[in-house]
Symmetry: C2
Subunit: 134 residues, 2 copies
DNA sequence: CGTATTCATCGACGGACGTCAATATAGACA
DNA sequence: TGTCTATATTGACGTCCGTCGATGAATACG
């Protein structure tokens, strides 16, 4: 798969102060995808939501489970849940009147795997991780 | 170390729709620290900065190295560099007129390690990771 | 059918964020 | 000392984001 499209780092021309490049630089598009994933984790409320969901025995929780410990309004909780869904961390399964949100298995580990390579920020989605699906 | 202070999840009282908790829920303070770390990674420009710095042979880059490929003004680049420094991902060493920014070894891996535990979001800083140091 | 409950969506408000031009600071070199 | 270069800081502007109340949609239950 061709990764380097933007940021060709063609000719640095001047640049008398710096060392040369040794590894590949992430493409702008991939950087945007990576940032979108971590932006979902960049809010304390959403971090707490993931923790609460994960702490349930079956890794499932409905909105009513979250609204009380978070001390937030119900629309706000639904708002954050949607963001975590769009980022690929949660799934929703509606049963009766209730909506149960569950962790996508391996999604958090996959996001952490992106940071594992040092600074390469490997844009390879580590197997079965479909973050945006836009 | 006492972790559970906020979010005692004392008595759920009603809650006829949900399953009980099995694991510990992250404290609100720790959630804020985790979110602060990932918020620094939640911007495409900052992701690209980390990638560019890491792609240099000695994992160092000065501001002039970044300004051109990012196509941003110099104050904006300095702004993002400061955020990445405060988050504990970069260090600055000024030599002469130039300021060289370098990756903090293991900082990205440590951040990724937080996601590795599934949804526990273990607030244990995995050895030698001092993110805020505020 | 009507009512109640659970959740999603809408519109609005305030604060935070990314960006820039202008300015300030600090070191290198005459 | 003065000037030039590289970087940091300031102030301002527009946009995005988190939050809420109000409303809408869908299901359960009399």
């Amino acid at each position: 798969m061709p990764v380097a499209e933007l940021l060709p780092v063609t000719d640095v021309s001047a640049a008398a102060c710096c060392s040369p490049l040794s590894k590949e630089v992430i493409a702008a598009d991939d950087a945007e995808a990576v940032a979108r994933t971590f932006k979902a984790l960049g809010d304390p409320t959403r971090v707490r939501i993931l923790s609460i969901v994960a702490s349930h025995a079956d890794q499932e929780a409905c909105v009513c489970d979250l609204q009380e410990p978070l001390e937030l309004s119900q629309p706000t909780v639904s708002h954050h849940l949607k963001i975590l869904m769009d980022a690929g961390f949660l799934t929703r399964s509606k049963r009766g009147t209730w909506a149960y949100y569950a962790l996508v298995p391996g999604s958090l580990e996959a996001a952490g795997q992106v940071l594992a390579g040092g600074g390469g920020l490997e844009s390879v989605r580590p197997e079965g991780f479909e973050p945006p699906t836009f």
